[in-house]
């Protein structure tokens, strides 16, 4: 009998089914990995187990007893604890106060007693803390350890860790798995949500693979090879459509040795006029920082960026936009548009200083309307009036408008962050079709997507990023789905 037994779990958000009829079991004393690509349903499933989400169908059994978890407090009462991807440690508070926050045993805090019990929990695991120093001074690894102690403080028997190594150095990650092994040997049930294959193969006992919200397989790790696992995660390749070869021209964007903290490490690549390049990788591996550095919104520590032959490493975002750089930004509401503004005002954003939007500092409202109309029609944005706030459109229609804006004036270098997000199939084809047309007309584009199949289907070539390191597949592997899949998961090709 498994300690944790989820049966036939289905969870829908509106018309979207996040997980469908998924079974999941985990034993005491074992480390269980839950793997899959972004959007595979891993976190949703674990939030069901943690009581943060209620399933539409299916049952949750804990210790062979059927339970209904109405909230996280129910789950905590049943000995379930979860460490979220984003930590819950408050930097301004000392470690010992963070440890007990929300689980104090009385109206007065006894620092000495807390630290004594905390030490008793920490020592067997080999953890050492400066309990009285603010958590802000702790390394990401130490923060992670504190999160685990928080679960132990609350007497958790089952511990769920969502992407626990995302922020950790390789050495810290290794140490973490040592700790988890020790906890498992002490009788705890450990569940790790991850997308990093080496961790699964080296650190875990069991593995469950989800893809597209469905259970693919659940099996012991022993005897499993990396290629087998990668294949299970990304699935069999679909036949990529025939792409016309690009007519390559000048190098329009050259990035050399770009380094930014731990996010980007010596990233070098170039885009030539005429090509559409896909940047494959799992979310959070440096894509965001790379695009922001190229835009000039983030300042890299070192490296150079050349745009159409000009060194723009030190140039302002405004100057880069003037030199023909365009962005289809990731976060529509924060970065790409001003939600409360009408479409017509959003149309000018970024190019508002230049014709047709303005001349000599004076705005040309008539020309702006004409341009806005064209942007909206480019990808068939559904709207009532150019004067309606863009925030009132559906996400897909917002994205159509924004893509229309970025591709409005041809030429130039387009950076696109998940441009197809929120679009239906026709919309996806529209956007990639436009990006292709843009490149075939002499422009170039770099597309970030977490969906490898989407990139394989539409891009001329693919580069990968993992842990801030950019890699270019060897020519013979340029369209090898599994090889690229392994590269983006941090494996050797």
């Amino acid at each position: 009998m498994s300690h944790i037994d989820l049966r036939h779990i289905t969870k829908r958000f509106g018309s979207f089914t996040a997980i469908e009829n998924v079974d999941f079991r985990a034993e005491k004393g074992r480390i269980h990995a839950l793997v899959g690509e972004n959007g595979a349903g891993k976190t949703t499933l674990m939030r069901v187990l943690f009581g943060a989400l209620q399933p539409d169908e299916g049952e949750v059994h804990i210790g062979s007893e059927a339970v209904r978890l109405q909230s996280s407090s129910d789950a905590i009462a049943r000995g379930i604890g979860m460490v979220n991807q984003h930590d819950s440690v408050i930097p301004a508070l000392p470690a010992w106060r963070n440890l007990i926050l929300g689980a104090e045993d009385g109206p007065w805090l006894n620092q000495a007693a807390v630290i004594e019990r905390a030490e008793a929990l920490a020592k067997p695991l080999g953890f050492e803390f400066d309990w009285t120093a603010p958590a802000a001074t702790m390394s990401p690894g130490a923060t992670q350890k504190l999160e685990i102690l928080k679960l132990l403080w609350r007497n958790a028997e089952t511990m769920i860790l969502d992407e626990p190594t995302a922020m950790l150095s390789p050495a810290d990650a290794e140490g973490l798995y040592g700790t988890l092994r020790q906890l498992a040997e002490g009788g705890k049930t450990i569940i790790v949500v991850t997308h990093r294959l080496p961790e699964v193969l080296e650190g875990c006992d069991e593995v469950t693979v989800l893809r597209g919200g469905k259970l693919i397989e659940s099996r012991p790790v022993a005897g499993l090879t990396a290629p087998q696992l990668a294949e299970a995660i990304v699935g069999r390749s679909v036949e990529a459509p025939e792409l016309t070869p690009p007519n390559l021209g000048e190098e329009n964007l050259v990035v050399e040795n770009l380094t930014l903290g731990h996010s980007l490490r010596d990233v070098s690549f170039s885009l030539r006029a005429g090509e559409l390049v896909g940047l494959a990788g799992v979310d959070g591996n440096g894509q965001r920082e790379l695009l922001r550095s190229i835009m000039g919104v983030l300042r890299p520590d070192r490296g150079t960026i050349r745009l159409q032959g000009l060194n723009v490493t030190k140039a302002s975002t405004r100057a880069r936009l003037g030199a023909g750089l365009r962005l289809i930004a990731e976060d529509r509401y924060q970065e790409a548009m001003i939600a409360s503004w009408p479409l017509v005002e959003n149309a000018a954003l970024g190019q508002h200083l230049r014709p047709p939007f303005a001349r000599n500092g004076r705005r040309d409202l008539a020309a702006t309307r004409v341009a806005a109309q064209a942007m909206a029609e480019r990808f068939r944005t559904k709207f009532v009036s150019l004067d309606q706030p863009i925030g009132g459109l559906s996400g897909g229609n917002q994205q159509r408008f924004i893509a229309g804006r970025a591709l409005a004036d041809g030429g130039g270098v387009v950076l696109a962050f998940q441009p197809a997000r929120g679009l239906d199939l026709a919309g996806i084809d529209d956007v990639y079709g436009a990006l292709r047309a843009h490149t075939r007309a002499g422009g170039c584009a770099l597309v970030v997507s977490f969906d490898l199949d989407e990139l394989l289907a539409h891009c001329d070539r693919i580069i990968t990023i993992s842990h801030g390191e950019l890699r270019v597949p060897a020519p013979e592997q340029a369209r090898d789905r599994e090889a690229i899949g392994r590269m983006m998961l941090g494996e050797e090709a």
């Binding site: 975002t317 962005l327 924060q334 970065e335 001003i338 939600a339 005002e345 705005r363 409202l365």
Partner: protein, 332 residues
């Protein structure tokens, strides 16, 4: 916010503004006509309202400018006071050519300089402009108070005031309607407002200001130097508040005295909040605040304490703020 909560707020504000009137021995048959007469109903009311209107309008323009850039210029009171004081100082110096223009320019400059530390702290240090503005306001009260009790004081006057300006340095009224005087400051204020409206609608500078104030991140991605835009807007806001103070001296009071702005800078925040996104709404908004101030001044003379204006204006600000909050939430 639910509809019921909103109704409750309206009721509380109405009770705050009108309830106190029934605590006085003055019967409604007296205060109702006075309320109307001293604001719009009679020429003397118009005279009072017009006098109150100009500084509130220009102050409103000042605060509005900063507000659209996403900054609270709660320091308008201090900037206005320092502006008035600087104008008074230059205007009372021995005569020299162009004195009037330079006096007004000094007021504008002083207001801008008084806003500068708050703008710089916000832009370069991330310090909240409201905290530094509160400190700067207090410093402005103390500095101008000391000046007008000491070096700038009219030795022949009992109170803390300067001498009257020379006739040649006063702005003569353009027109007189009975006791109501219309001076050049009001048309200037209206021109500023219309200018701001034009700038906002037709110049890229106005577009960038609005972008930064609405969504600074999106503005940065669109290549707009958000910090610089905010810094400039704040300095200009201070300069305009200084202008409001300067005109108070040359066009209205013709002297500087201790605490002469008497909360007009704070009222300007209410004027700007009420006007919302449209600068042309600053005029009716300032008129409402001016009329309320005039009405309570008039009612003070028949025995209703002046504090009523604070209750009314504070209540109004709460109502507008809750209404605009609703609009913002609608986008989420």
């Amino acid at each position: 916010m639910s509809g019921r909560a909103r109704v409750a707020l309206v009721l509380v504000v109405v009770a705050l503004a009108l309830g106190p009137l029934f605590l006085t021995p003055v019967p409604p048959s007296e205060w109702v006509p006075e309320l109307w007469g001293s604001s719009f109903g009679e020429p003397r009311g118009w005279a009072l309202t017009l006098r109150e209107l100009t500084p509130l309008l220009i102050g409103g323009v000042a605060v509005w400018l900063a507000l659209r850039a996403g900054l609270f210029n709660i320091g308008a009171e201090g900037q206005m006071l320092v502006g008035a004081c600087a104008t008074g100082a230059v205007a009372l110096a021995p005569a020299f050519p162009g004195q009037l223009v330079i006096a007004i320019a000094a007021g504008v400059l002083a207001g801008a300089l008084w806003a500068l530390p708050a703008g710089a702290l916000r832009t370069f240090r991330g310090g909240h402009e409201v905290i530094s503005c509160i400190m700067l306001n207090q410093l402005a009260f103390l500095l101008t108070g000391w000046l007008v009790k000491g070096p700038m004081k009219d030795p022949n006057a009992g109170g803390a005031t300067t001498k009257m300006l020379d006739e040649s340095l006063r702005w003569a009224p353009i027109a007189k309607f009975g006791r109501a005087e219309l001076d050049w400051a009001l048309p200037l204020g209206l021109a500023l407002m219309v200018g701001l409206w034009y700038w906002r609608k037709h110049r890229v500078g106005g577009y960038e200001l609005e972008a930064v104030g609405t969504n600074a991140t999106a503005a940065r991605f669109a290549g707009i130097p958000a910090e610089m835009v905010q810094f400039r807007a704040f300095a200009m806001s201070g300069g305009l508040a200084g202008l409001a103070g300067a005109l108070l001296v040359v066009a209205d009071q013709n002297r500087f005295y201790d605490g002469m702005t008497s909360g007009k800078g704070f009222d300007s925040l209410g004027v700007a909040l009420l006007a919302g996104a449209n600068p042309l709404a600053l005029a009716p908004s300032a008129l409402l605040f001016a009329a309320l101030n005039a009405a309570t001044t008039g009612m003070n003379q028949i025995g209703i304490p002046k504090g009523l204006s604070g209750l009314m204006l504070g209540g109004l600000i709460l109502l507008f703020a809750s209404a605009s909050q609703r609009k913002d939430n609608a986008h989420e």
